[in-house]
Amino acid sequence: MVSTVTTAAICGIEARRVSVEADISSGLPCFVMVGFLGSEVREAQDRVRTALVNSGFRMPSARVTVSLSPADLRKSGSWFDLPIAVAVLGAMGVVPPVMDDMLIAGELGLTGRVRPVRGIMEMVCRAADFGCGSCIIPSGNLEEGACIPGSRVMGAGSLKEVIDYLTGDGFLKGAKYDPDAPAVADEQNLPDFRELKGQPLLRRAAEIAVSGFHNMLMIGPPGSGKSMTARRLPSIMPGITREEAVEITRIHSVAGALPEGSGLMTQRPFRAPHHTATTASFAGGGSYPGPGEISLAHGGILYLDELPLFKAEVLETLRQPLEEGKITICRIHGDYTFPAHFILAAAMNPCRCGFFPDRTKCHCTSADVRKYLEHISRPLLDRIDLCAETGLPAYEELRSAGPGEDSASIRSRVERARKIQAGRYKDTPFRFNGDLTGAGVERFCRLGKEEEKFLGSAYRKFSLTGRGCTRILKVARTIADLEGTPDISCDHLAEAVGYRMADQRLWKMEGGFEE
């Protein structure tokens, strides 16, 4: 008798329907599994056999064949154990043989315990498309599965519980979608801007960056507060909406980066990969790619400390996501696209020792400084809107600065600026000022006569590029939004020009870095 069970495979970030068929026929006793299986799926047969025995069933002494289809779809992951076990039990006649309306996933322990797995949220999300009205998932993933509206999920603690449920002898603990569940945790233990002493420039740049979803680069000596600022960025970002939370949680679920037993993510991600990161870990990779660091930062902050120390090819993978908010990875088996719309917050020292241009401490030659800076390519630099160059605060500044403004007050200004943007970009492909393309800038960053003149003379004075002007306009738009003024003024432009200063000047110096 052939039995069929439905489960799913994860391709990139998407779940695809997989049917597990099992058949018991006469022949030499053996357990054969086919269907383009990854090694963790092939190992399932030993776990399944032992779990069956330890749950009180004997494997038939006949030829057991399990086929996972479609046969040309690569299956990897550990959640095929439970569907395989159920399919075998169906073929043995223990449970009903055909269960097309139910999606089953879970990893088995040798005792028959069902362990939590990754990617549950994505599978539950797509279950309805596969024609499955309910899902049996590990009880450890129950919270996660219940986040999807309209889903009906049941958590299994052991194989025995599943069998009892399927034969009508017992119940599985269910969970229901709760539309009123708060998306944001009440108590957010995020680091607060209150703790950052002084550094008004970094604060200002952070506020603008978060308000308009601009990428920012902080340049300064060690101890100037770059990391402190970056780690406090999530605290001034507007609260996470339910849709965003689902989107972010799905990516984390697929990547297996969700803490066990957790439901929706209630905080925006803050990813700070080390500079030894490889291209695959960064962009997403493997021959069957999964999401990388930049996708895990989706909707939040990607913080790259010591930017010039990252490998050049790793940094260059940032180009597409910074431009389009997603990354496409091409492999021989197909293209995989992962969302990657984040605020890049990068930090770097001005030179290898970190103290340039303080010549009492820094002995790097100008060639050293240039070499250090040149690790960052022009195209990457061109995609960063804000560049805040800062120094070490003097002792008096440090001591006389009272407690800094707290994150809540900054966030309220950010939220106001975001609201203005939401109104302006309704029914357009854009969401934030930082997303604007050339045409978008033309349309939404109109200048008056005087402002046009001002930008023109700045263009000549600071030898800007067309791209530089676009960036300045976007940032000026955000500054105006922060002030709540509908038109961009010369003041806004002047401030925005100030944030182009470092990359306009620092990277273009000739014959010595001394001017």
Binding site: A367, E389, E397
Partner: protein, 362 residues
């Protein structure tokens, strides 16, 4: 065969050895023709470098060195020839001859050396290029060591002002050191010359540089020191210049600033102080000091400043100050300060320096 060129081309022989040979043999030709016994006698007296002359007299070297000079487009001038820098000929340790690419200064060309630190400050940078371009405008050729920092800045400024410039190297004239200055090196071929007393292919050894410095000061009538540490090549040049009886001008700096210490010491020892560029030029040329037109225009712009613009302008000095520091002292929040600083830059009153620091434009 040019025997002076031959003797100067032998690798590993320096001017003091040349001088000794001249003292004994009288001419390079006599060295070439000297008998083996004479050389051996010298060697016995302690001149261990005689072996190099033997190598130099080998047929292979004799037949190839002139071809090599021609191939690399390096020319040679002997100290006794017409066209050799006349002031240099007067110093006691004058080289036997010079290799050069480009063209040497003409007999009546006034020459000034502008030297200074490699790691200079924005102040030194601005002053070096202003002084060099003013001197070039007065017809001075600018001599320097083509090093990073002040040397290169001054030489570029001179070329840009339409003047001529000469780079004296501590390596062979066919070697560009430091390699970052390759663009300056090639520009000098047409805008002046690169000069060296060392044979082609010689690398930049540390002890070559003090030797090179005596040629810089020796060629020039005036030596201007922009920024120098107490122990530095620039100070060696200045000391040599004083020994050689040249006018030495030093740019004053702040007490305690390591990069100005050398200059301040020079001033205390009696060098002329550069109190203003125009005054220095007038002293050198004997002309009335020209009123600086740019200064007037600037004064006009300064008078028109109002409110916070003026507050910030008054706070900015000739030393760079950071934006946070300015904000702290003026009480103006950074976002407004950023706007003001951009405006002041657009008025050409202040300039940006690395580290988001700003200083008055000199």
């Amino acid at each position: 065969m040019n025997y002076d060129a031959w003797l100067c081309s032998i690798p590993g022989l320096y001017w003091n050895m040349h001088a000794k040979l001249m003292e004994i043999f009288g001419s390079a030709k006599a060295v070439f023709e000297a008998s083996e016994e004479e050389l051996a006698g010298l060697e016995k007296e302690g001149a261990r470098w005689i072996g190099k002359i033997r190598e130099g007299r080998s047929e292979r070297f004799v037949s190839s060195f002139e071809k090599e000079l021609a191939r690399k487009n390096v020319r040679f001038i002997s100290a006794s020839e017409e066209g050799f820098p006349p002031l240099l000929r007067q110093i006691k340790d004058c080289p036997l001859g010079l290799f050069y690419k480009g063209s040497l200064p003409s007999a009546n060309e006034k020459l000034a050396a502008v030297v200074g630190a490699r790691a200079c400050t924005p102040y030194g940078n601005r002053m070096a290029s202003r002084i060099a371009s003013r001197l070039a405008g007065e017809g001075y050729g600018i001599i320097s060591g083509m090093a990073l920092g002040i040397d290169g800045i001054a030489q570029r400024a001179a070329l840009e002002a339409g003047g001529r410039s000469y780079g004296v190297l501590g390596c062979g004239a066919d070697v560009c050191y430091p390699s970052e200055n390759i663009e300056l090196y090639t520009r000098l071929f047409s805008g002046g010359a690169v000069i060296s007393e060392f044979p082609c292919g010689t690398g930049p050894m540390p002890f070559h540089f003090p030797l090179r410095n005596r040629i810089i000061s020796g060629m020039a009538g005036v030596v201007v020191v922009i920024e120098a540490r107490r122990k530095s090549g620039s100070l060696i040049t200045a000391d040599l210049a004083l020994e050689q009886g040249r006018d030495v001008y030093a740019l004053p700096g702040r007490v305690g600033d390591p990069l100005s210490e050398g200059c301040n010491v020079l001033i205390s020892q009696g060098s002329s102080i550069i109190s203003s560029v125009e005054e220095m030029i007038s002293e050198l040329t004997g002309k009335e000091p020209a009123a600086e037109r740019t200064e007037e225009r600037k004064a006009e712009a300064v008078r028109s400043l109002e409110g916070e613009l003026k507050t910030v302008w008054d706070r900015i000095g000739t030393e760079p100050s950071g934006i946070e520091e300015l904000s702290f002292h003026t009480g103006i929040p950074v976002f407004r300060l950023g706007r003001i600083l951009t405006q002041l830059q657009m008025l050409d009153l202040i300039s940006y320096t690395p580290g988001n620091r700003y200083m008055k434009k000199l």
